[in-house]
């Protein structure tokens, strides 16, 4: 074995392994067979998925749960195109991912040969960077660069397109694998003067609020953030992806703001005199109307990506840098101000406008979610799909530690929840993983039930079955005179039979009085995945809601008495 000459494929895997990766997700085909052959004897685990989109979300879940890049290995043409949704999802949410895509032989490129697709060309707008490797000797350098780019700065997906002949080529050991990226800045230098200005602005504010996003979690800013929040007594709100950076059960945390955020978070934003975004990019689900957004307040923005500063919301001070580094510096110059009056105001919002739903009568999605949270607790990795169930989960599940909440925010990709839970469970075999999925979303990637069953992953799949593409139904209901079109999920399978066909355990909840009992039972089941089919009320809408494009002060708290309120 030792005197066997190494091929491009061997060197590729060795370099990936050296970068700390022990698992790859994917599905093979002609163009990737040379690499698959090298996988056979390699310490890296290959996890066979049932669809490449599944593989991409698994890698994503793996990355979000650990902070390490998720790796996928797929074949050319349709294999590669099947991952585009997952790559876009990762790019939107700044998730480190490395995609190894097999390709037709170099001499066949551009000739419409079998399963040849210009994956680089198709993916330019949705990757952080990409490589088409034409010289086998470039492999180690390109892999090292790909991992470095994917995981530093503002993380993102990097594609390596590897033609079959390049993977097959025998390589001398004298290759150069040093990173050479003159155009890439992993860590911008901090501007201490601006940090001092920001510290003064924060110290003097009467009604400051922090808006914490994914960037803060990615940079590992949770500890210093907690110190600052508690020293300064400043309320915080976190974006959908910022959940968990600062404990949501903490009395200073107002939860998520925005379109379906808590009323008190939105009201606090409308009242504050300073908002400090820490790694949150004023997404349009929060700042739908950038000019009106917190118009009364000063704004500070901390972001590692210069592009984000003043991109949508104009700020008074932009601090470019890693959130943790910036906060650590900032902390030195902060002086606590008396914010007790402001905290009182905010607490009154919280008391007067709580999240609410009817527990009695019909089975409510909110009830099932809240009970799951009560029983499973917060030392759990929760992943979600996209839709009403996702927003209810964001409202009712309190996340107290970073990387315990995995949800597709920027892209809102249906079908993300279940495979991302598989990735998270693979990365953290000893953790409890619960995925909250919609009946519509789940059907987009449910074939991964096989992957979960084969690998005996004890994931709890909580399916909120409202037999609708509920979120779209809600919009049609509220803004299109209930002209429901293309949202009825008539023809849904019997999910219990489906689970059993895959060899997974199934549970069903139909009545609110059964919620506790069934969930408890499901949480005890650890032999493999289980699916809990919660047949919930079909016509509930998610409230509060800020109509699309409107400022936070246009928030509606419940179904309007007069339709006029929506206009």
């Amino acid at each position: 074995m030792s005197d066997k000459k190494k091929t491009g494929a061997d060197i590729l895997l060795d370099t990936i392994y050296k970068n700390g990766v022990d698992k790859m997700f994917g599905l093979p085909g002609g163009a990737i067979i040379p690499i698959m052959d090298a996988v056979k004897d390699h310490p890296i685990d290959f996890i066979l998925t049932r669809h490449e989109q599944g593989a991409s979300h698994m890698a994503d879940g793996y990355a979000r749960a650990t902070g390490k890049p998720g790796v996928i290995l797929i074949t050319s043409g349709p294999g590669a195109t099947n991952t585009l949704t997952g790559i876009m999802t990762a790019q939107m949410d700044s998730v480190p991912m490395v995609i190894i895509s097999g390709q037709q032989a170099t001499s066949n490129l551009g000739l419409d040969t079998f399963q040849e697709a210009d994956i680089s060309g198709m993916s330019y707008p949705i990757v952080k960077h990409s490589y088409l490797i034409t010289d086998p000797k470039e492999i180690p350098k390109a892999i090292n660069e790909a991992f470095f780019i994917a995981s530093t700065g503002r993380p993102g997906p990097v594609i390596l397109d590897i033609p079959k002949d390049v993977a097959n080529a025998v390589i001398d050991e004298d290759y150069d694998d040093t990173i050479d990226l003159p155009g890439y800045l992993a860590k911008p230098e901090l501007d201490i003067d601006k940090i001092k200005d920001a510290a003064q602005m924060i110290s003097q504010a009467q009604k400051p609020i922090f808006l914490v996003g994914h960037g803060a979690i990615i940079s590992g800013a949770d500890k210093i953030l907690k110190t600052i929040v508690e020293d300064m007594n400043i309320p915080i709100t976190n974006s959908l992806l910022g959940k968990g950076c600062f404990p949501e059960e903490h009395p200073l945390n107002l939860g998520m703001p925005g379109m379906h955020g808590t009323a008190y978070a939105n009201m606090a934003l409308c009242e504050c005199d300073l908002v400090v975004s820490i790694g949150s990019r004023w997404d349009d689900r929060i700042a739908a109307s950038p000019k009106e957004f917190c118009a009364q307040a000063k704004k500070i923005h901390i972001d590692i990506d210069l592009v984000e500063i003043n991109k949508v919301v104009k700020v008074d001070i932009g601090l470019v840098g890693d959130a943790k580094d910036v906060l650590e510096k900032l902390h030195k110059y902060l002086e606590p101000n008396d914010t007790s009056k402001w905290i009182k105001t905010v607490n009154k919002f919280r008391k007067d406008y709580p999240l609410k739903y009817k527990k009695e009568g019909k089975l409510r999605a909110q009830h099932v979610i809240e009970e799951m949270y009560n029983l499973a607790g917060s030392d759990v990795i929760y992943t979600t799909d996209v839709g009403q169930h996702q927003m209810w989960a964001a409202q009712f599940i309190k996340i107290n530690s970073p990387r315990n909440w995995i949800s597709s925010g920027g892209a809102g990709t249906m079908g993300f929840g279940f495979p991302s839970a598989i990735g998270a469970q693979m990365a953290c075999p000893d953790r409890k993983v619960v995925t909250i999925v919609g009946d519509g979303s789940f059907q987009m990637t449910l074939s991964e039930l096989s992957t979960a069953v084969v690998n005996k992953l004890p994931i709890k799949i909580l399916l909120l079955n409202n037999r609708y593409l509920g979120m779209v139904r809600q919009w049609q209901n509220l803004f299109y005179e209930n002209r429901l079109t293309g949202v009825d999920l008539e023809g849904n399978p019997d999910f219990l039979k489906l689970a059993s066909a895959y060899g997974a355990k199934g549970f069903r909840i139909r009545r609110s009085s059964d919620v506790r009992k069934v969930l408890k039972e499901a949480l005890q089941y650890n032999a493999g995945p289980c699916l809990i089919d919660a047949v919930v009320e079909q016509h509930d809408n998610v409230f509060p809601m800020v109509p699309s494009g409107a400022n936070l002060d246009k928030m509606i708290l419940g179904f309007p008495q007069k339709r006029k309120e929506l206009e």
Partner: protein, 168 residues
């Protein structure tokens, strides 16, 4: 929002690699910002890199966003907006005109006024090479529109900063 629609001159220093041009132009295309002219040339001092000069029209705020987006690209070493700065900028155009003998003297006079070179002459056509600022080229073009222009090809603007300062 600053909605000043202006022509901008952008200079980029980039890796000399396949795909760089696409990545760069996508930044413009994504916002519907039109590229008016584009010149790419290898840096003969260091063939690993190339220089690009781009002229584009649009509002200043968007341009600033795009400059940051260009600088974010791994293949872009740096991108700079040189509009409004005192820099060297030149362009070259070739103009082919219909030119029967009776028009020849007239056209040659115009050529002289713009210090254009006659680089081709046939029985019925004359071709000038005009070099200088884009404004000068525009003026020459306007005047020549009084005649029958068969073809015009322009290189697009090339830029360089003055003195010791590096261009991009």
């Amino acid at each position: 929002m600053n909605n000043n629609i202006e022509k901008h001159s952008i200079s980029l220093y980039v890796n000399n690699k396949p795909g760089v041009l696409i990545r760069t132009s996508l930044v413009f295309a994504r916002r519907g910002y039109n590229i008016d002219s584009l010149v790419v040339s290898n840096d003969s001092n260091n063939p690993k890199f190339s220089r690009m000069n781009i002229e584009a029209t649009g509002d200043t705020d968007t341009l600033h966003l795009m400059l940051a987006q260009l600088n974010r690209l791994v293949d872009v070493i740096h991108a700079r907006d040189l509009s409004g700065e005192d820099i060297l900028q030149k362009e070259l155009s070739l103009v082919k005109l219909e030119c029967p003998i009776e028009k020849r003297t007239e056209l040659l006079q115009i050529a002289e006024a713009f210090s254009a070179k006659t680089i081709d002459l046939t029985e019925n056509t004359i071709t000038f090479q005009i070099a200088g600022s884009s404004e000068k080229l525009n003026r020459a073009e306007t005047l020549l529109h009084g005649y029958k222009i068969k073809e015009i090809v322009r290189t697009g603007k090339v830029l360089m900063t003055r003195g010791e300062e590096a261009t991009a």
